[in-house]
Amino acid sequence: MEKTGAGVNIIELRRITKRFPGLVANDSINLEIARGEIHAIVGENGAGKSTLMKILTGLYQPDEGEIYLNGNRVAINGPRQAIWHGIGMVHQHFMLIPRFTVLENIVLGSEPARGGVLKEKAARQLVEELCRRYDFRLESDTRVWDLSVGQQQRVEILKVLYRGAEILILDEPTAVLAPQEVKELFVNLRNLKDQGKTIIFISHKLDEVLSIADRISVLRRGRMVGTVLAGETDKKRLSEMMVGRPVLLKIDKQESQTGQETLVIKDLSVMGSMGRPAVRHVSFSVRAGEIYGIAGIEGNGQTELIEALVGLRKVHTGQVFILGQPIVGKSVREIKDLGVGYIPEDRHHRGLVLPMTVWENAVLGLHRTREFSRPASLYFKKILAHAERLVREFDVRLGSVDLPIRNLSGGNQQKVILAREMSRDPSLIIASQPTRGLDIGAIEFVHKQLIKARDQGRAVLVVSADLEEVLSLSDRVGVIYSGEIVAEFRPQEVTLEEIGHYMLGSKAQPREGVGA
């Protein structure tokens, strides 16, 4: 049974096709994955990466095509069968139980037991053996809520290994990690590879893919564009394969012409959901005509900070001024009316009302202005004209403004939000994760718009988990860690290494309660 050596493909997909109503998610895809390689699959959002992986893990059945494992044709009817075949998936969003220990999380679902009683010793032995073999440094009795994000990811990987996976699929594994953590992950992955595991690495971060993968397969719009050796390609060529046309990788921008301080934050503290301070004594300011970026690993107070600035969350202590006006205690509407455009981090949750039409969403928040309504009636003609204008100016691709906005792609939805907020002619734009989940074309567009706004003399505050984005977009950058701005600099002044240290808090003053 056991076939080893080069030339034998552990996985072969032949002419895999999967259709959904209205689109072909996977169009006759051929893919060969060799045993013991790290194979990256790249592509924009909607290119069909996750559909393909769901077919591999049995969550979807292909409409056409064949799957071969070790040269034998198989049908994979569900995740349980996938793992039986040795295929395990590490999800982007961790599926861990925070109050359980590492050990409990790993064995959960396939506990060694006799007569319904957990054999804890056996479980512990198995898990610790795994940690040793792959050099995963984890305390098996630590509760998961005490772990860093990188460590939690290791637990996820161990979960899959514990179930006997020979093939590991990692879905955007670096999305939530700091640069140092990415390095550690790569060390772990190379270890796994050396031990004979096969790794499928899904990503759209080309630098990382180029550094970790042996071979790279590119998907575009449901089709396989091709597979290349990582050593024989570069970022430029890869992104062209992904998008189908040359892409600007560097953001084009002039020196900023800054004016007066538009947003001033003084000693701001904000409570988080659990009643613990999420933002602590933050002070900084954003000038007209500059982009101020906030870098940091997610969950370090970014959300709370932004929500406090736009009035969605109560300010605990401190002061905030927009255009010289104190805004603490003001309502969302009052703050936005001062001249604030807000692009929320979760556009489905905060930015749009999905079941409502495109034109209704185009005036969300503007519907009470005298231009669009009186208390007794909305001015439908003006609203429709406004919506059509936004759609035209921001090049939103849609069938009709009369359809619910949930039918639009993420990029087009974001364009509607951007267009709507810009139509308020804001002095300050607060953009939280403005390009999350968008494809390269839309990302370019959003970046250009933000820079254009800056060049028009608006102040722009950008929060992003994507460090590269923050660095290339911003004129000044603040790093947030555990609710504090621990460093502030210009993007050219510091190395990636150093920023990573700030993001992980290893350069901040030690204090009690960190990570508690």
Binding site: P21, G22, L23, D27, R220, R221, G222, R223, V225, M241, V243, G244, R245, V310, L312, S331, V332, R333, K336, D337, Y342, P344, H349, R350, G351, L352, V353, L354, P355, M356, E360, L364, G365, H367, R368, F372, S373, R374, P375, A376, S377, L378, R397, L398, G399, S400, D402, L403, P404, N407, L408, S409, N412, G441
Partner: protein, 389 residues
């Protein structure tokens, strides 16, 4: 645009298909109890529609259901499930009855509107606590309104039987027992029937029919509901909050305030539900005052898909079924429960059919949107890389 019309048609067709389906299931039930379904349905129709007074009785019967249906619907639109219409209309009816018998010597044009306003006030009052608890304390409105329904039942019982009971009902000593009821409302608070108005058009209704002007008020209310929800900025906020409170909040709308207004409005409309019976048919409130309009109102709103026309039609449907049930019970010997089963199946099948249809329409829309965006996309088409050189 042509497609939109097709969707609209499909959406309208789905409840009718569902009703047909329910009629078939109902026929099966009748076969099981050894009745001829054709005969039963025929009797239902003839009994209901052959005579003018029967039609008027159906119109009288749909009046409270329009109010309760609208009350439920306006809650639904804001994302609130007001299951407490029942309690709200009982309290509203009580306050209206109180103002109806306690105030004397007012002219009709003051007394009657005042009594109606008292009804709305009562409904609002009973809606205030649940929405206050929801907005300020996060208590789910379904729980609090259900419990307040029970409180209202007992409270009304107490108020009627122990506090305000009419002790002088004018019965001769030794003749019968007095009814446990409130005193009769003053003549100045009675809602006039539509008989004299309709006789202008040659429609002459007998005196045992109580069709009154509340029907017109209910229809006007449905029109007002349409304008409020779909044409005003407040209605826009209502729908935005109903679909996505967090998104609305981010846009500067205060969900709590919208919840408050919508729920009080719902309660106020609910307060009108019992008034047609009180101010026209009974003239007093007793312990057996009709119950259940509130719960039927949920079904009405559901079947009417929270739209004004749909609610009016659904209210008509339920009133017809109730009337028809009396007919088949009397003439064909089919127990009323059969019709209750029919109603139940109807509600279920309409919910299922419209959800299936909704899913289909959404799918189609998605397709259309995908086509639209693909057509508008220059340069980046599938496989263009090789071709465009």
């Amino acid at each position: 645009m042509k497609k939109r019309f097709k969707y609209l048609l499909l959406e309208i067709a789905s409840p009718f298909i569902a009703i047909l389906f329910a009629v078939l299931i109902g026929a099966l039930v009748m076969l099981v109890i050894d009745k001829n379904p054709v005969e039963v349905y025929r009797t239902m129709f003839l009994f209901s529609f052959k005579r003018l007074d029967s039609v008027a009785i159906i119109l009288f019967g749909m009046t409270p259901l329009i109010f309760s249906g609208l009350a439920v619907a306006i809650g639904f639109k804001a994302g609130l499930f007001n299951i407490g219409i029942e309690g709200q209309y009982l309290i509203g009816t009580f306050l209206a009855a109180l103002a109806g018998f306690a105030l004397k010597g007012l002219p009709t044009f003051i007394h009657l509107p005042l009594v109606i306003l008292m009804g709305m006030l009562g409904g609002m009052l009973w809606a205030w606590l649940p929405i206050y608890l929801k907005v300020k304390r996060g208590v789910h409105e379904v729980i609090s309104t259900i419990m307040l329904n029970y409180v209202s039942f007992s409270l009304i019982h107490y108020l009627i039987a122990d506090v305000f009971m009419d002790k002088q009902q004018g019965l001769a000593p030794g003749v019968g027992n007095p009814i446990i009821r409130l005193p009769k409302i003053a003549a100045t608070a009675v809602m006039p029937k539509m008989h004299s108005f309709l006789s202008n058009f040659g429609i002459n209704l007998p005196q045992h029919v109580y069709l009154n002007w509340f029907l017109v008020l209910a229809l006007l209310m449905a029109v007002g509901y349409y304008f409020l929800v779909w044409r005003t900025p407040f209605g826009y906020e209502l729908r935005a909050v109903g679909h996505n409170p967090a998104g609305a909040e981010t846009a500067g709308i205060k969900p709590g305030a919208v919840f408050f207004k919508a729920f009080l409005l719902s309660g106020a409309i609910a307060g009108l539900t019992g008034l047609s019976d009180l101010l026209s048919y009974f003239g007093y409130m007793d312990l057996d005052f009709p119950r259940g309009y509130g719960f039927t109102g949920i079904a009405v709103a559901l079947i009417g898909k929270n739209g004004p026309l749909g609610i009016v039609l659904a209210a008509f449907l339920f009133a017809f079924l109730n009337r028809g049930a009396e007919g088949v019970q009397a003439f064909v010997g089919v127990p009323m429960e059969t019709i209750v089963i029919l109603q139940g199946v109807m509600i279920l099948s309409i919910v299922v059919f419209s959800s299936v249809m909704g899913r289909y329409i959404r799918q189609q829309e998605k397709k259309e949107a995908a086509l639209g965006s693909a057509a508008g996309k220059p340069g980046v088409t599938v496989g263009a890389q090789g071709g465009v050189k």
